[in-house]
Symmetry: C2
Subunit: 83 residues, 2 copies
Amino acid sequence: MKVIVEVMPKDGILDPQGKAVQQALHQLGYGEVRNVRVGKRIVLNVEGSDKTIALKRAEEMADTLLANENVEGFKVHLAGGKA
Amino acid sequence: MKVIVEVMPKDGILDPQGKAVQQALHQLGYGEVRNVRVGKRIVLNVEGSDKTIALKRAEEMADTLLANENVEGFKVHLAGGKA
């Protein structure tokens, strides 16, 4: 089973990487880009068939290791499920 | 309008960051994790109301700047749309 963990910088937290990407896009002629945020997309391939348990465990993993709760938020969902 | 670009290492390409995360998860007791891939989730906030154009331009941006086509694949979709 594949579980997706999406980790993004929280609103209000400076995102220097996103700013750099935005500036590069402007220089390439994509002036319509008003803001860019860069986060992580982590695909966990896990054993087991219980979706509820897999999601609960993935939430724990995100809390413990994958996201830094001071500056990042995260969402967990099954691959193929809603974004 | 928000456009999401998901950039992931291609299948068969070594992902040292994913491997490191997997090992850390095992040490934390999450032995059910068989494989981990770590990619980027880039949220572009763009001006304009034409979704088709926004997606086409975001594909170009991913091709040109956001993804390294040698080792990464990408998907582009509107926020709130399908994952």
